[in-house]
Subunit: 177 residues, 2 copies
DNA sequence: TCCATATATATCGTATCCGATTAAATCGGA
DNA sequence: TCCGATTTAATCGGATACGATATATATGGA
């Protein structure tokens, strides 16, 4: 049997003219008003660049046995001992609903310890283990700067611009709430 | 009972000095070698900007009853009738394992039709319904350009730079395979 | 002291992503 | 013509995201 499938019969009615040039060429002209295409959306550029980064990191992360968010957590935790889940969440732009499963997994793998703060039992403090620290060192070889095809100064400038974009979006979203 | 939790007792041993300034100020100095922090990673900037975009779109998308990837699919499908799953996947940088559930959901909601191509029954051709086209129109009011805090020319330049970054990453990832 | 409120984390359901696999249809060479 | 290789889409399991909710702890007045 064909892989399960929805409605089947009936002929295809799409017009299917592929006349428009959608090549990756460097000067794709912006589409006229009302014809905004997917490629013109900054949000989609960011969305697809994020997918591309995840795939570019995949090979290196597989060697470490980590996923992309797990690796981000390791890097963030390496910066500071004893962070709470909320503090880590502030750095990673995530909340406990997403973070807790990631941290439990990393704890189970032996890379960190989660312990309630005796001074405030509501909070959970997180510390990397020695294995977790070594992991961070081992991961430092994953340098994708070359893969970005950007010159160092371009790299830094783009990074700063994306950070500014992110922070502006967060501010605007908070304001309209 | 406290929400299920890992190991509990034991005191927190983290040093917890928060001396370093990690404010959002415009001139956060790059950390010294070997001290690369999360905020210095371009991949993390993209990752977090993508989260921010998803959250910024959330309110508008809720009104349409769509998710972020569903909306992207609608926009991509609006450009061309009768695309196959693979062709749509090329545009969205996704494959059938991710796309099929999204398309089935949109079909179930009445926004598109999926039908096998009679000329090649392996392929599935996708067409927006009238409701799907109206949805695309209704979604056009979600303009986040203002929220990005970027001037039009900055917006366009950043968009192009991110696209270039993405395409370079994809090329580099394919080459090392 | 007592309790309503606030805070911090965890849980749950839904929807992506993605690697690996499966299934059907097509293609191509002997 | 026949059959193995290729192509296309779907399925499955594991791991994020995230809104809504639950639970435990802490806080602050009456």
């Amino acid at each position: 049997m064909r892989p399960n499938d929805g409605p089947k019969s009936g002929s295809s009615t799409g017009s299917r003219d592929n006349s428009r040039d959608n090549s990756k060429g460097s000067q794709k002209p912006r589409s006229p008003a009302g014809e905004r295409r997917l490629g013109d959306f900054l949000c989609f550029a960011i969305y697809s660049a994020n997918l591309a980064f995840g795939r570019a990191y995949k090979k290196g992360l597989d060697e470490l046995g980590l996923t992309y968010p797990q690796w981000i957590a390791i890097v963030a935790l390496w910066e500071q001992d004893g962070q709470t889940v909320s503090e880590l969440g502030d750095k990673m732009f995530l909340e406990s609903n997403t973070l807790t499963p990631i941290l439990k997994k990393l704890e189970q793998m032996g890379y960190l310890r989660r312990q309630r703060d005796p001074a405030d039992e509501r909070q959970v403090r997180i510390n990397l283990t020695e294995a977790g620290r070594r992991l961070r060192e081992k991961g430092m070889h994953m340098n994708l700067v070359a893969s970005t095809g950007l010159k160092p100064d371009e790299f830094v400038r783009l990074q700063e611009n994306v950070v500014t974009l992110r922070d502006n979006l967060i501010k605007a979203t908070a304001e309209e709430a």
